[in-house]
């Protein structure tokens, strides 16, 4: 029904998809699986007309098609149910379902009753017993997810692509969803189902396709493969991994967490972090691995004092209990965070490199208590530009004009200047080139050698193995494994990241 043939897609030098083949058949649910960054989302974005530049062919039915926009893909009968919800909060369910395709009479007025009636039928199909006039923001996330599905049903699509549709919904709603999928299947619709939850896949899927590093590495019938074999296929990597050497001395605890939990600030139900505890020692590098949504970023933010209202549990620095009400408190205690999104959270793009580096240490370069000493400021920034080999002609260059790797080094410099006791790094090398990557790894090790406690959160197993002395794996807000580096293997890490209840 829908076929991808020899698809290759590059993003400025990075190959996201390399000669990928994927076939979807009517009346069959195909599971598309792979690690973070394996290329699943990129492929789905090509199917849905988000990415329009690629090599290779998309064949729908017997015809070669080229989607230039999401509208094209929709018109061709492809419906995507995204992981992130695309609903307008303050409109009703009916208005959302008919958004952009409103029914009107010959005078151009809305046919509200008719739309309402059709919506009611759709709601019955997804087994939601609520009024079509309900505003979206009043619904729970799981219900919103079902509205997304109702919206897709409304388009009368032939092909349904579901990207992690169960990531936010309850078991009861998952059952509903599976009933709907079964129904679609019996109607001969084509379904692709992307999920990290392997047990679900065995329940609902007929076929599987495994992607790894942008390539198709296996496909077949679900009944002919075991969970362990699937994990093996997802992780089996040809690249040799440089491993970090040995353990740190576990003498001085630097940061102790016990019973840390975080309630979801968005809907105030459900826990993003569930009873997490561990100790980080002086000079140790802990790597935290997990799949998207495992709660890793939230854990870092909680430690850094960004969720004082919704978190609970105890935190101790240097064996002294602390309570952070804001990042300022955490910084004062020597805990610093290099955030996940450097452009949004780490950098002042319109300020010079010099000002970005000095922003955290202005107090220490004051003359007469209130005048910034520009000479000292220049010296500090010059030192760090040199030490971290930030490539720039002058320290007055705006952060905006640097490459990703150099931007990340500026964020690093900003915190190094402040002499951290504990440095938290969230995806420190995302989107930066290999050279800068290895420099950042070297820096992390140097810091640890100087006695800084480091936590590195990463979606890339090789990265964790390269820098960490110890590996924690997170899954659904809990720590599912605590492995010394010698015992950490790729397939174990992935296994613990995928199913927690083993």
């Amino acid at each position: 029904m829908l076929t991808a043939k020899n698809i290759t897609k590059r993003f400025s030098g990075v190959t996201a998809l390399n000669n990928v083949n994927l076939e979807l058949y009517p009346g069959i649910v195909t599971a598309v699986i792979g690690e973070n960054g394996a290329g699943k989302s990129t492929l789905m974005k090509i199917f849905s007309g988000v990415h329009t530049q690629y090599d290779g062919d998309i064949i729908l039915g017997d015809e070669k098609v080229q989607f230039n926009s999401t509208k094209d893909a929709e018109a061709a009968g492809i419906a995507i149910i995204h992981q992130e919800l695309n609903l307008v909060d303050h409109l009703s369910i009916t208005e959302n379902i008919f958004l952009g395709s409103e029914l009107v009479d010959q005078f151009g007025f809305l046919r509200k009753e008719e739309m309402r009636k059709q919506t009611k039928k759709l709601l019955q199909r997804v087994k939601l017993n609520i009024s079509p006039d309900t505003l979206i923001y009043k619904l729970k996330v799981g219900q919103q997810q079902l509205i997304e599905i109702a919206k897709a049903l409304h388009t009368n699509a032939e092909v349904f692509i579901m990207d992690e549709p169960t990531s936010a919904i309850t078991d009861k709603e998952v059952e509903n969803l599976f009933d709907i999928i079964g129904e679609l299947k019996s109607q001969g619709k084509t379904i692709a189902y992307i999920s990290h939850k392997l047990n679900e896949l065995f329940q609902i899927a007929d076929r599987y396709v495994v992607l790894r590093d942008g390539m198709t590495v296996g496909e077949g019938k679900m009944e002919e493969i075991s969970q362990d074999e699937l994990v093996e296929k997802m992780s089996g990597r040809k690249i040799r991994i440089e491993r970090s050497s040995g353990n740190a001395s576990l003498a001085d605890p630097m940061l102790q967490l016990s019973n840390i939990s975080l309630i979801n600030p968005d809907n105030r139900t459900g826990k993003l972090i569930d009873d997490v505890g561990f100790t980080l020692y002086k000079g140790e590098v802990i790597g935290i691995y997990g799949l998207m949504g495992a709660g890793r970023t939230e854990l870092m933010e909680t430690i850094f004092g960004l969720h004082p209202k919704f978190s609970s549990g105890q935190l101790a620095v240097d064996s002294k209990t602390v309570k952070f009400k804001s990042p300022a408190n955490a910084i004062e205690a020597g805990i610093m965070l290099i955030p996940e999104d450097r452009k949004l959270q780490g950098l002042f793009l319109d300020l010079a490199i010099r000002s970005n580096i000095s922003i955290t240490i202005l107090d220490s370069i004051l003359r007469w208590g209130f005048v910034l000493n520009s000479k000292k400021e220049a010296l500090v920034s010059r030192d760090y530009i040199k030490q971290l080999a930030i490539k720039t002609s002058t320290r007055e260059t705006l952060a905006r004009n640097l490459s990703g790797g150099n931007q990340q080094k500026v964020v690093l410099a900003k915190w190094l200047a402040k002499n951290p006791k504990v440095l938290l790094l969230d995806e420190p090398t995302r989107g930066i080139d290999v050279g800068a990557k290895s420099e950042i790894y070297r820096l992390i090790k140097e810091l640890a050698a100087k006695g800084v406690g480091v936590i590195v959160v990463s979606s890339e197993i090789p990265e964790i193995l390269a820098v960490a002395n110890r590996v924690l794996v997170m899954c659904e807000g809990k720590i599912s494994a605590n492995l010394p580096i010698q015992e950490a293997t790729e397939s174990d890490m992935l296994r613990f990241a995928i199913h927690h209840n083993h």
Binding site: P327, E332, L337, G346, D350, F370, L372
Partner: protein
């Protein structure tokens, strides 16, 4: 090989270039424009807007806005005039406190500062959008002015008070000296202190500022307080020049201040802009007002021209930045 980046210079000094072009055109069109007397006149008239717009720039750089400056101007001018003339008398306890010119002026400025603090407090503590919070203060402060003055002007304030608005010192009108001091202090604050750096940081990226441990409420509250104090200074100049505190003084002055900020190249999204740009913006508006009068353009057309200039300034700025 050395290349000169002409385009870069033009962009950087575009408002200054616009001002010079405007002056050249006006001096060709009318003999009266390029005289010492007229130039001093323009500067005197612009001084008030420069004071207000300088404070406004700081607020806008934090990605905020202050609509209440016109009303703060009126209230603080009236309070200073009232204290000077009548002092405070508490009949119950038979106490009378008299004010010198200096005391009255300082009291007026402190009240402006406090109203600004209140604006900033409401905005940061209760997350009220700056537009709404200061719109409310625009009405409140105007009402307080009416209450304080009973809707009547407070006049005949004495020669030493009138010197502030009408006197001259070393050949320059006193209001120009005051505006210059206000500008220089603010330039110093913005370039040489933690406060200034944090203002740019917060306006440029508030999330990153939070992640850097900056005390965002403190910086924002101070910036509104500064805008309030500078509006009060403007209020004292206006009151002194007229020798009278008018209850409806400063009405819609916030618009001229915002116009000066925008023409001077400060982004309303915050983080980008300079005090000097605003000074040039204010002078452009002053020159335009003056030139249109000299050319006998009808007051109705003057407004059309002024509005068009603001629009043009923003469009040119946007075009310049979309190329990045």
């Amino acid at each position: 090989m050395k290349t000169v980046n002409y385009a870069g210079y033009v962009k950087r000094f575009q408002s200054l270039i616009a001002l010079l072009l405007l002056c050249i055109v006006l001096s060709l069109l009318t003999d009266k424009f390029l005289t010492t007397e007229n130039s001093l006149n323009i500067l005197r008239q612009t001084a008030v807007n420069i004071c207000i717009a300088t404070g406004m720039t700081v607020v806008v750089l934090t990605a905020g806005i202050d609509l209440s400056v016109g009303s703060i101007l009126a209230l603080c001018g009236a309070v200073a005039a009232g204290l000077l003339k009548n002092g405070i008398s508490l009949q119950a306890s038979d106490v009378f406190i008299g004010f010198t010119v200096f005391g009255a002026v300082v009291a007026g400025i402190i009240i402006g500062y406090l109203i600004g603090l209140f604006n900033g407090f409401v905005i940061t503590k209760f997350k009220v959008p700056p537009f709404v919070a200061t719109l409310a203060m625009l009405t409140i402060a105007r009402g307080l002015t009416m209450l304080y003055t009973h809707g009547q002007p407070i006049s005949n304030l004495g020669p030493s008070f009138d010197f502030i608005g009408t006197g001259s010192f070393w050949g320059l009108p006193v209001p120009v000296w005051i505006a210059a001091i206000v500008v220089l202090i603010t330039v110093f604050l913005m370039q040489k202190t933690k406060f200034g750096r944090y203002v740019y940081a917060i306006g440029g990226n508030e999330t990153a500022a939070k992640f850097s441990g900056i005390n965002i409420p403190k910086v924002k509250i101070l910036s509104y307080a500064l805008a309030g104090a500078f509006a009060a200074i403007a209020g004292i100049i206006v009151t002194s020049r007229l020798d009278s505190a008018q209850p409806n003084a400063g009405t819609s002055y916030e618009l001229d201040a915002i116009a000066a900020v925008v023409i001077g190249g400060t982004s309303l999204n915050g983080g980008r802009g300079t005090i000097w740009g605003t000074v040039i913006g204010a002078v452009i508006i002053g020159v335009l007002n003056n030139g249109l009068v000299l050319l006998n353009v009808s007051p109705f057309w003057q407004q059309v021209v002024k509005g068009s200039v603001i629009l043009l300034a923003v469009i040119i700025d946007k075009l310049g930045h979309s190329k990045d």
